[in-house]
């Protein structure tokens, strides 16, 4: 192990904390945001009464409900039904919540940042420096990737976790010793397995198009331009795959219109029927984390992730219009030695902001969908999955393969014709 790799490890730990707190914060906010958006959709006001008594009339549009709800759930009785498997009953919500958080490890939330500073010899670093005598931290040319784990099989990793999430639901349903829970778990398992096939096939089109299963590589390649002006985002190159992916994703996170595992009118509350208090809240929270995961995945694979159109670490570039502005030509960068690093840092912050905006926008779309569409019937869900989406996903693979071939063949010709 060198000092460089240790530095990378520490950074990755930091990103893990950042991503975790970001996701947990957004999910917590969504528990309030969903109710607030739903009420505005239905011409109501929504939760706005929770306040802290010390500060009078300070309600912040009901934001204190985020604090009030957990306090309420935690202080409730933790009920385990008679005949339930206590261990499994306790593990199920932990598994659901834990796995949905782990999937965020491969989510890159900003573009790579290259530092041009100076090398720091180990002797100058307190404590840790002594472990690596003679080594140095090479910060004169160091690329930071904003991602907790840069896995080459990133997408597959997320799908693997998606498949594992079924276990949380199944364990909850089976261990509760309740017929309705059991039915809900069966429905959830059937539904999630059915749609995982279609979900995987949708993403194969994306993998073909961008030539990698590494999430950060996919996002990076979405910064390229078609005809020198259209950003090569997934929604442009894979429009059909996007809609199929989004539908399957909705199914995967068990939200309306596919919330059959918890269909209230039929099986009370489905697999978490026998849960109360903090465990129930963990299931609900896991649902919101999965919602954020779907939003993040849609943004990463189809809406360019952290990409801002035409803006990169080098400058602003639109080849078709012959617009080429490099950060290096800024007066500030020319006069200061650290100028380029500072500008790049600003770009990285903008990219992280762009990614956050995309994720939040997707969350809002998902919430709007929930409060608009009615629930599917069970046979309709299965027919939609196996007879409509699966063939379309297969068609999409063929189409994207054709597009990739055509693009490779005619790109120089188009470049010559459009003169960029």
């Amino acid at each position: 192990m060198t000092l460089d790799s240790l530095f990378m490890l520490l950074l990755q730990c930091l990103w893990a904390v950042v991503v975790f707190s970001g996701v947990a914060g957004l999910s917590g906010l969504l528990t309030w945001g969903e109710r607030k958006q739903a009420s505005l959709i239905q011409d109501r006001i929504g939760p706005n009464r929770a306040n802290i008594r010390l500060i009078r009339n300070w309600r912040l549009f009901g934001l204190f409900h985020i604090l009030a709800d957990p306090v309420k759930s935690m202080t409730k009785e933790d009920f385990v039904p008679e005949g339930a498997n206590r261990l499994m009953h306790m593990l199920a919500p932990l598994l659901s919540l834990g796995l949905s958080f782990v999937a965020f490890a491969v989510v890159p939330f900003a573009g790579p940042l290259t530092i041009h500073w100076k090398d720091i010899p180990a002797a100058q670093i307190p404590l840790l420096g002594r472990l690596f005598p003679g080594d140095a931290l090479h910060l004169s040319e160091y690329t930071i990737s904003f991602q907790a784990a840069d896995l080459n099989v990133g997408i597959l990793f997320i799908f693997a976790l998606g498949a594992l999430m079924v276990y949380g639901v199944l364990m909850a349903g089976f261990s509760s010793n309740n017929k309705f829970s059991f039915l809900g778990a069966m429905r959830a398992a059937n539904q999630m397995f059915s749609y995982e096939v279609a979900l995987g096939l949708c993403v194969i089109g994306v993998i073909l198009m961008y030539g990698s299963t590494n999430v950060s590589a996919i996002v990076e390649r979405q910064g390229e331009l078609w005809f020198g002006v259209i950003p090569k985002w997934g929604i442009v190159t894979q429009p059909l795959a996007f809609f199929l992916f989004f539908t399957c994703g909705l199914m995967e996170i068990k939200r309306i219109p596919f919330d059959l595992p918890e269909g209230e009118s039929e099986i009370v509350a489905g697999y978490f029927l026998e849960y109360s208090g903090a465990k129930f809240m963990m299931f609900l929270f896991a649902e919101y984390v999965e919602l954020v995961l779907l939003a993040a995945m849609s943004a990463l694979l189809f809406f360019g992730g952290w990409q801002i159109p035409f803006v990169s670490a080098q400058g602003i570039n639109i080849p078709l219009l012959h617009l080429n502005f490099s950060w290096a030509s800024l007066e500030f960068v020319k006069t200061h030695s650290y100028g380029m690093s500072l500008v790049n840092l600003a770009v990285v912050f903008c990219q992280a902001g762009a990614f956050a905006v995309k994720v939040v926008a997707f969350c809002m779309v998902l919430i709007t969908i929930r409060w608009t569409w009615p629930r599917f019937r069970y046979d309709q869900v299965m027919r939609l999955g196996w007879q409509r989406i699966l063939p379309l996903a297969m068609l999409n693979i063929v189409l994207s393969a054709a597009v990739v071939l055509v693009e490779a063949k005619y790109k120089p010709l188009v470049q010559k014709l459009l003169r960029y």
């Binding site: 958006q37 505005l40 959709i41 011409d43 109501r44 006001i45 709007t368 969908i369 608009t372 569409w373």
Partner: protein, 162 residues
């Protein structure tokens, strides 16, 4: 019998209607959201009609019936002459009067006890219409009549004469 109209084909296609639904809910959201913003709120009229009750109250109409009141003469004594008209007409039987002999020579009786039980009152206003001498009114415009103890809901002369 009205024959059922066949569903148009574009509705049976499902997708256009789904997106039309999304458009409607999004429109509601955007209009209400902008309506709550400080500056834009004056331009965009929000569709939310909620009245935040303890802080805001809806305007009460002139003829709104609230808590009872006994009218007074110029000398301060009640106008009520204990004629029992209100007690007789009351459908909820919430008024109970005990008459006493009035010291005034011109007036025969006065109410020694006049009680209105607000638990039983249905606020129909028949007592006000029955009153022949302009004594009983329901125009106090008081709607918050909640109390901590049940016996406070029985209004006596002290509470009624205003």
């Amino acid at each position: 019998m009205v024959p059922a109209k066949p569903t148009p084909n574009w509705v049976r296609l499902y997708l256009p209607e789904l997106f039309r639904g999304l458009y409607i809910t999004t429109r509601h959201f955007v209009v209400n959201f902008l309506g709550f913003l400080p500056v834009l709120g004056k331009v965009v009229k929000k569709e939310v009609v909620t009245i935040q009750y303890p802080e805001e109250e809806r305007p009460i109409s002139e003829r709104w019936r609230g808590r009872h009141r006994l009218n007074r003469r110029e000398d301060g004594s009640t106008k009520c002459v204990a004629c029992f008209c209100c007690q007789t007409v009351c459908p909820a039987q919430c008024i109970s009067i005990v008459a006493g002999e009035s010291p005034d020579g011109e007036i025969e009786k006065y109410p020694a006890k006049f009680e209105v039980n607000l638990f039983e009152c249905v606020f129909c206003g028949l007592c006000v219409e029955a009153c022949p001498c302009d004594a009983l009114y329901m125009d106090t415009r008081e709607m918050k009549i909640a109390q901590y103890s049940p016996d406070k809901f029985v209004l006596g002369l002290k509470d009624l004469i205003r």
